[in-house]
Subunit: 341 residues, 2 copies
């Protein structure tokens, strides 16, 4: 399989990305799924970096993308003003089937925007969602959405649940993953109107819905898929990412660290592959701008796992089955709840 | 001043509450504001606990409240079915002016419900809000709302901002506290429609509005008052409260602890006074059910500080001034935005 890699921009820097790609290629050959990286970025600089890192010139493909979308560029402006940027070119190639997946550590808004503009939406899905793994006391949880759709309707959140469920089943290998709705109390009547509506839809779905979970349950081994709005998910994700920094300040002088390999190492978000964009007809992984080479490598492996496990097809099928079951359980409610544009 | 104390229920338990009240009375006499505790709870058990703890019988007043609202009681049912509970009796006495403040570690929903039912709402305020202190890298932030109004209108959130601002000014002694709106990006157009509306209202207000802050900024010394919906605030608060437990698991064997007095001690939410209910005509502090005696004492001192600093009057005045300024800046928008029931 061919994986497009965004190798442009100042964060995390071209050399870090190239190093990460090489790490992913080099680690455990045979046991890992094989892939061929296609680097999108300014060709001259890329060739120079490859040479400096002693990468044989036939190990990777290069697509020249001289324009760079910066972290602070406005996504909708950048997509039209920079057609030769790595993000625009790679998403177009993904859509055309020239590559099987796209991994970027760039401007999240621009990647999501480019996918909305150039990659087909999966059938049955009205809104895309970003899903991320979250460290728990034991194992990992998966939260969806963390920012692609800040203000979803209840029907969209049903789709988030189905997409997350299919993803976790295929990529983490968890059968019938437990789906929890993030709310401010465990009873079904809690929360705002949207939460109550989503609760009812999830109850009628074939998903393994375990009910509401609260903020304090996120670290617990309760739900494998945590469903929430892009607004709440984004606030929580950024808050979570700030925990290591907050702790580091307090841990100065104690000998413990969140960046090393100690007891707190798994709190560092850079250890995870990144976010995945669910609901588009392609495998898209978006890593953090401040990623290390190791994080880039993990994002690559994650993308290859998604392609290998046919995660996108599983997501489409799961959303279809879920919507059909919910619709059949109460056909007259259809227009109001599960089929919103 | 007289402070009513909820001394009923199994969490944290009658003896812990009595011990906390005694600690608050005993600490640094002279330097602290003086108050007289009024214990609301089952009289026989209370007298027994006081005797066991060697408390002179004239040190406290006791109001017999034999009925107990449990943590899992439904608030609206408990308030009518248990009129002789500590929560109902104390809020009625607060409303009648028999006590100056009410401190409870009980069922938050029941306390908020009782205050809505029996205590007048402050003039100019349409919805109550719960505010809590949040530990930061440096000093403390104050978040409002954390659950009293899960789904506020934009006009309500303007009131939250004004209430939080007045509270922080009076109780923390910070002049012109910086008000930040919790959002999913720093630009004014980010977030959902409500966030954009609140942003505009806050810009037109006389408050020291510094703009949007993101989830990652909560730990930073950026905003003194963090304004958000009760839904988002509640999820975040419960998530924050779960951090020490999550860390404790990982810290086993490292010699560090979040419960002791070490580097991480200030992450323990039990060290803070609790939440305060803003928008009602009375001083109400709600501590955590799992409070220690020390936390009860801190809640008592916090309540006395609020009464001493005339925080309730300051809150009312600040909301009035804020609403007037916003209204004057655009009188025609009044009905739509700042005066919602």
């Amino acid at each position: 399989m061919r994986i497009a890699v965004d190798a442009a921009g100042r964060e995390p820097g071209l050399r870090v990305v190239v190093q990460g790609v090489m790490d992913a290629l080099g680690t455990a050959p045979g046991s890992e799924v094989q892939f061929r990286p296609v680097l999108y970025g300014p060709e001259t600089e890329l060739r120079q970096a490859l040479e400096e890192l002693d990468v044989p010139s036939d190990a990777v493909d290069i697509v020249d993308a001289p324009e760079v979308i910066e972290m602070d560029d406005l996504p909708h402006e950048a997509l039209t003003s920079k057609p030769n940027s790595s993000i625009v070119r790679a998403t177009k190639d993904l859509s055309a089937g020239l590559v099987d997946a796209f991994v970027s550590m760039g401007n999240t808004g621009a990647v999501v925007g480019a996918c909305r503009a150039f990659v087909d939406r999966l059938r049955w899905i009205n809104k895309p969602a970003l899903g991320v793994p979250l460290p728990r006391k034991k194992g990992m949880g998966f939260m969806v959405d963390v920012g692609a759709t800040p203000d979803p309707k209840s029907g969209h959140m049903l789709q988030f649940a189905a997409m997350g469920s299919a993803f976790v089943e295929r990529v983490y290998g968890i059968n019938e993953p437990r789906v929890g709705l993030l709310n401010i109390g465990t009873e079904s009547h809690k929360g705002d109107e949207r939460s109550r509506d989503v609760y009812k839809l999830l109850q009628r779905s074939p998903l393994n819905f375990i009910g509401n979970i609260e903020g304090g349950d996120i670290f617990e081994d309760r739900a494998d898929v945590i469903v929430t709005t892009g607004f709440v998910g984004n606030v929580l994700l950024k808050f979570t990412e700030a925990i290591p920094g907050m702790l580091q300040d307090r841990l100065t002088g104690t000998g413990l660290s969140v960046t090393g390999d100690g007891a707190l190492a798994d709190l560092d978000y850079r250890r995870y592959g990144g976010a995945t964009l669910l609901g588009v007809d392609g495998t898209v992984v978006i890593g953090h701008g401040r990623s290390t080479a190791g994080a880039v490598a993990r994002a690559m492996r994650w993308a290859s796992k998604m392609v290998h496990g046919h995660a996108v097809e599983a997501i489409r099928d799961c959303v279809f089955k879920t919507r059909r079951a919910v619709w059949l359980s109460n056909p007259f409610a259809r227009g109001e709840t599960i089929d919103e544009p």
